[in-house]
């Protein structure tokens, strides 16, 4: 498979079935860039993100687990 466009060209927008949300796209792409970079680097900050934001652990808990503070994305 060949990837053609990263962003739907304006000329195709009228024929696209899914309307794009530029603001939401910008925010997602900003967060996704950081998340992917952390995953690629096996950065434990990614673990801290989920441990803190989803499982409610404090920075002290994270430190006890040998993890860095949760990053602000």
């Amino acid at each position: 498979m060949t990837t053609v466009q990263r962003v739907l060209p304006e000329v195709l927008e009228p024929r696209a079935r899914v309307e794009r949300d530029p603001d939401a796209t910008a925010e997602f792409q900003r967060v996704a860039s950081q998340v992917s970079a952390m995953a690629d680097a096996k950065d434990p900050a990614l673990t801290s993100l989920f441990a803190s934001r989803h499982f409610g652990l404090s920075d002290a808990d994270l430190e006890e687990m040998g993890l860095p503070p949760a990053p602000e994305l």
């Binding site: 060949t2 990263r6 962003v7 195709l12 079935r17 309307e19 794009r20 949300d21 673990t47 808990d61």
Partner: protein, 253 residues
Amino acid sequence: MTDRWPCVTARCLLEDIGEPLPDPSSQRRADVDHPLVRELCRLAPTTPQGQKPILSLQSEGLFAFRVQYSQLRGCTWHDGNTEVVWLLASLLRKDGDPDDAYEEFSKLHAAGKLVPTQRDEVAAALERLFHDEVPRLAEKVVDAVETALANPDSKVDVAADALVPVTVRVEAIEVEDEGLAEIVVAFFRTNTLDHTVALALPTLVLDHAAAKLGLPRARDWEVGKGFAEFPQAAATYVTIVEFGDATFPVFGQ
């Protein structure tokens, strides 16, 4: 969540086995090279079948079972709520000595140091998320995208029995006369997620799937402003591919 997950308490790993705590997203505690941890992994699917109870702990209300290798003795405990099978301790058998493994197990339990802590439970949940649930959901998304591309009328739903529950619907939509297809991956969430986690989770799933399918990475996908056919979707992600020289059947071609 049905499969049992083997894990080791932090106290056991640090104090008994002498290994540092790994980052749960990179390595499972059960991947540590240690004879009793290997036994834990072997026994976890069927525990406590074939294991003897540790009566001194069971009399205290902890239904722990023996695991052994040479002079090493350990105790396992199956948490039926989370389906995690824990290795709680690994110590030496010194029959008759006050620091015999079974004596120490009782002392640790009396001191409240034997059972998993909340941090242990989160570590096991994180391991499961990164090593099992995200890859498994991503594989389902890969299959769904391939099916959707091969069958343009199909709408493939993927249910994830995950700690972070999501349902994914995948569609491939031909952009008429341009030889292009929009691949739509719409995430339905059954609970309220933290906003950043709600963006990070699809990132991990899309990156896994994209690597298998040769699609752009998550950071290059666009976000849809609703999707008329799936108005209940919490988030809709879209990318564009050319299907003229696709490596798998597309739209029946």
